[in-house]
Amino acid sequence: MGDKAKSAKPFDPMEPWRGARDVYLDAWAKTMVDMVNTEAYAQATGTMLDMYLTASTPFREAVEKAMLKTLEQLAMPSRADVVSIAERMTNIEMRLDDLDAKLDVIRGLIASAGRASRAEPVRAAPVSRKPIAKKTAKKRKK
């Protein structure tokens, strides 16, 4: 019984239909691939896109003009203003990135100088300790 239950396969009345469907889809897929590879298809899609763009342009321009006037009336920034700010932000980011690169170079130089000084200890030059604190204190008194 156990073996029978394991080998039991649910009856699926849709199975033959699925087989026929797959054969039909395969044939249709091949036909469509051939069709989209033709110049006629390229021309048809190009024409449709062109018609859409031509038809939508006057409406789009009208909406843009109306929106611009509305935003001006409301003293709010237009899309062009926001785009301009975004472009300036990118420029600032680039300058910051340049600074970051220079900092990396300086950090590398300091690290290599530190390694070199540890490898070859040089006698430190005598440092004259000027009484800076006293001088400033005198200046303040004056």
Binding site: K9, V33, A42
Partner: protein, 355 residues
């Protein structure tokens, strides 16, 4: 032995299937889960470093930077745990970085290949070098990412590029009859300037339509039929769900890049002819000296093999290999066979060259 037949209620089954189908279609799968840190940003671009899982002494010293296409999300490289190229490469001991271009806004409509290859990529690579501590690095470019890496390697290849991997790279546009996109974007039928004047950037939905229309029955019908037939198989459903999450997450293409892609590449094949100018510099692929692995997907309908074959003959690299593998444009890296075939081959090629 005759099989026992068990009658089921087709109506109840169909309702259950419909519920599962709707759930998969209306939710997003958990994707891109390999741990990573953000180490650099510029405008919309982000550079991630994946957390190494292999001890430093066992890791490959040469870091690897992944550069994906501009008009799709790069998490296809890290689709889901257990089925992720990123996860696989991190486990193989690579110091791995991913450049995510982000989605361009209206302010980015003038971005061109020039900006991506001479501003964004060198800066991201500089940061990667600083973080990894290595002056040499490897680049992996996929699809449009392969165009970017090829241009970068031609112009700035002497700045530490040791290994270059090009996956399904659309570089050679000379065979117009073999490239469906070339036919669709022919200047007799397709007005680039009119499209860009209307939209600024090329909308992601239009790019998606273009990619799907190459195989309309498979993409618009067969794909969903496959899901419906396999709703009882959680492995198939999980894979389908993750892939659908990626496929439906479209990104526009910056107007300037789209113009260059159509006019300079698809129509005039300027890259392989050595006529492509990037900020006044001629892109000469013969200047590429890095070790080169070109991967061609034999069933690729988006980038047919004829677009990638000739690059190996034009570069100056002494060490180069052309690897053909059965599968589609995305399937070779994200399909069920990728972990058995493509990823091990890339690792096998790259590992000895990353020491």
């Amino acid at each position: 032995m005759a099989e026992t037949t068990v009658m089921t209620d087709p109506v109840t089954d169909a309702v259950d299937q419909l519920k599962r189908f709707t759930k998969v279609m209306t939710t997003r799968a958990a994707i891109a889960q390999t741990p990573k840190e953000l180490i650099w940003t510029l405008n919309k671009a982000k550079l991630y470093r994946y957390m190494p899982v292999v001890p430093k002494e066992k890791r490959h010293p040469v870091p690897l930077l992944l550069v994906f296409a501009l008009m799709n999300r790069p998490y296809i490289l890290d689709l889901r745990p257990g089925h992720s190229f990123v996860e696989y490469m991190v486990n193989q001991g690579y110091d791995l970085y991913l450049l995510d271009w982000g989605a361009p806004g209206p302010e980015d409509k003038n971005l061109k290949f020039d900006d991506y290859t001479l501003d964004y990529m060198p800066r991201a690579i500089r940061k990667m070098k600083a973080v990894s501590g290595s002056e040499e690095f490897s680049l992996l470019g996929w699809c449009i990412g392969a165009i970017l890496t090829t241009i970068y390697a031609s112009l700035r290849g002497d700045e530490g590029l040791r290994n270059l991997i090009l996956l399904t790279a659309p570089l050679d546009f000379s065979n117009k009859q073999g490239i469906t996109f070339a036919r669709w974007t022919d200047e007799r039928f397709f007005d680039v300037e009119k499209v860009l004047a209307t939209f600024g950037n090329m909308p992601g939905e239009m790019i998606d339509y273009g990619a799907k229309a190459l195989k309309p029955v498979e993409n618009y019908i067969g794909n969903f039929v496959k899901l419906w037939d396999n709703l009882d198989d959680p492995r198939v459903v999980e894979a389908w769900h993750a892939m659908n999450t990626w496929v439906t997450d479209n990104v526009p293409l910056a107007g300037g890049v789209f113009r260059q892609l159509i006019v300079d590449l698809y129509r005039n094949d300027r890259l392989m002819c050595g006529e492509l100018m990037i900020r006044g510099e001629r892109v000469d692929v013969s200047r590429i000296k890095a070790n080169l692995l070109t991967v061609i997907a034999e069933g690729d309908h988006i980038t047919p093999g004829c677009q990638s074959e000739s690059i190996n003959g034009k570069v100056s690299s002494a060490d180069k290999e052309l690897f053909r593998i059965s599968g589609g444009h995305i399937g070779i890296m994200a399909g069920s066979g990728a972990a058995k075939h493509t990823w091990p081959h890339i690792n096998g090629w790259l590992a000895p060259r990353s020491r």
